[in-house]
């Protein structure tokens, strides 16, 4: 019993020293059978959402044991991106037909969306929630306009758009509500 205790202490000490010396060297690998397009952590780090367009799935993993807690395939389109909102209560899935499917971001997970809406009818390439969590940014690989949906969680949500003159590759919010868009004209 004493030897076992010492062994555990030595192991924990070794792990702590390893982490201090090489803080990036601890790695867990989750194997999928198709390529991954997007990954997104829940803000509290408890879940990881992995989007594979090739498999048309969004897979959510519990980051304590990396068990699969949800595999979601959207109806009528291909999953392009999935991101948690700012308090991790919602997982938004952007679909190739422009629809956004809102799923529960916490247990109990369900493959039945809480609600769906379509900011646009184009091919969603990226999406994201602003830091105040009241706006949803969506951008598209086959249209020049990106969309911002205000009050996205409410039935009374409204959508605005901005035409940037080019198709889009990726989009992100800044902390003060500016957006950055990578377009298909070699520019951000």
């Amino acid at each position: 019993m004493i030897n076992r205790t010492y062994c555990i202490i030595y192991t924990l000490t070794f792990m702590a020293l390893l982490q201090m010396c090489h803080p990036w060297c601890l790695r867990t690998t989750v194997n999928l059978t198709t390529s991954v397009d997007k990954v997104d952590w829940a803000i509290d780090g408890t879940y990881l959402a992995v989007t594979s367009s090739a498999a048309n799935t969004v897979t959510v993993y519990d980051t304590i044991n990396y068990f699969n807690v949800l595999t979601y395939t959207p109806a009528g389109g291909t999953a392009r991106v999935a991101r948690f909102n700012r308090n991790s209560s919602i997982l938004a899935v952007g679909v190739s037909n422009g629809r956004v499917d809102l799923l529960s971001g916490k247990p109990p997970f369900s493959s039945t969306p809480i609600t769906t809406f379509s900011p646009h009818n184009k091919n969603t390439v990226d999406l994201g929630f602003n830091y105040a969590d009241d706006k949803l940014l969506t951008c598209y690989s086959d249209d020049d306009k990106f969309k911002i949906t205000d009050s996205w969680s409410l039935a009374s949500r409204t959508t605005r758009e901005k035409d940037i003159g080019d198709r889009q590759m990726a989009c992100k919010w800044s902390k003060n509500d500016d957006v950055a868009i990578a377009n298909d004209d070699k520019k951000v």
């Binding site: 991954v36 952590w41 590759m169 990726a170 992100k172 003060n176 990578a182 004209d185 070699k186 951000v188």
Partner: protein, 112 residues
């Protein structure tokens, strides 16, 4: 609207999660074996402002696909066709660690 220009399409962008100016944007994929980091001191209102691009690391041996910022804003990560994820110090824009997958291209990244 302010723009960073590359020689090919950028594939991902990351914005430093700070409110204080300048806003820093890291973009990947716009140039072979490089990333772009630009600093914006003013945004919005249709204003055109100057940005500065730089190559934080010249050691990339292939196209960089993705960029992401840590929530604490002290480092950012990029990864790409060289099958590596590079952790880069935000203040110095120099490499602080490299994670090598060895077998597969890095397509996307995110910090917990």
């Amino acid at each position: 609207m302010t723009r960073i220009a590359g020689s090919k399409d950028y594939t991902d962008v990351a914005i430093r999660p700070t409110i204080a100016m300048p806003i820093k944007v890291v973009a990947s994929g716009g140039n072979n074996n490089q990333i772009s980091a630009a600093y914006f001191s003013n945004t919005g209102g249709g204003a055109t402002v100057a940005s500065t691009t730089l190559s934080p690391n010249t050691a990339f041996s292939a196209v960089v696909n993705t960029a992401c910022y840590s929530p604490t804003a002290d480092v950012y990560a990029v990864g790409g066709e060289d099958r590596k994820t590079w952790i880069i110090d935000d203040s110095s824009n120099t490499q602080s660690a490299v994670l090598s997958d060895g077998l597969n291209t890095v397509k996307n990244c995110d910090f917990s």
